[in-house]
């Protein structure tokens, strides 16, 4: 899947991946997709909760070799 911006939060722990995601989205325009890579297992539920509460769309959420990859579409 294509994306417009990538955010590397590897090694960061709660709540940094969420805070950095929020910041990264602020510089983007509506409809653009942010790819977030995280190693925080808690971020799987948290990214969904972030999307639910902010109106951004979590297009996909997947795991690959201990890394979590999220595609977040800006509202």
């Amino acid at each position: 899947m294509s994306f417009d911006k990538e955010l590397d939060t590897r090694g960061m722990n709660c709540p940094l991946p969420i805070l950095k995601t929020k910041k990264a989205l602020a510089d983007m325009t509506a409809g653009q997709v942010l790819k977030v890579v995280s190693t925080d297992a808690g971020s799987v539920k948290d990214m969904q909760a972030f999307a639910n509460q902010t109106g951004n769309t979590l297009v996909s959420s997947s795991e690959e070799k201990g890394e979590y990859i999220f595609m977040m579409k800006k509202k």
Binding site: G11, M12, N13, C14, P15, L16, I18, L19, T21, K22, T39, D40, F50, Q53, T54
Partner: protein, 154 residues
């Protein structure tokens, strides 16, 4: 917009985290957040947060590298050592520092208010605290808390 009011009352390394984590996260979710710092919670407002410590003596659940009897924990220097070790752990696990979290709170418009009574009680110097803080009493906090969706005492 949802609102959250937090009463921060503790000034130790472990207890300074929950208010700052919840405040910064709620702000990132678009919530309007106010943190009322009272008693030792005023430590959250110090310009220099490096002095915030954790005491192994008061925290029997604190994981220790080796089992440590209480009388050893009470020895001079143990608190400083435990604090240093916890800060190293925090860094190595990718957990934000208190300073970093507070900066993010401020950037996201979390409002910090300070208890004027505590400042008077302990004769604190306001110049040791960050700017942009209102010094208020309980009634001011209640005005915000009365409209809040979530209110926490930490």
């Amino acid at each position: 917009m949802k609102k959250m009011g937090i009463i921060a009352t503790k000034g130790t390394l472990d207890m300074a985290y929950p208010p700052l984590i919840l405040a910064s996260t709620a702000a990132a979710l678009g919530w309007d957040v106010q943190v009322f710092c009272t008693f030792y919670g005023l430590e959250l407002l110090r310009k220099d947060m490096d002095g915030i410590r954790v005491s192994p003596l008061a925290n029997p659940a604190m994981p220790m590298p080796i089992p440590m009897p209480v009388f050893v924990q009470a020895l001079p220097g143990m608190e400083a050592m435990a604090s240093m070790m916890m800060k190293q752990k925090i860094k190595s696990k990718g957990v934000a520092s208190l300073q970093e979290l507070r900066d993010m709170c401020i950037e996201a418009d979390v409002k910090f208010v300070a208890c004027q009574m505590t400042v008077d009680l302990f004769e604190f110097d306001k110049t040791d605290f960050i700017g942009g803080v209102d010094y208020v009493g309980a009634a001011s906090f209640m005005e915000f808390a009365g409209e809040a969706d979530v209110c926490l005492f930490i």
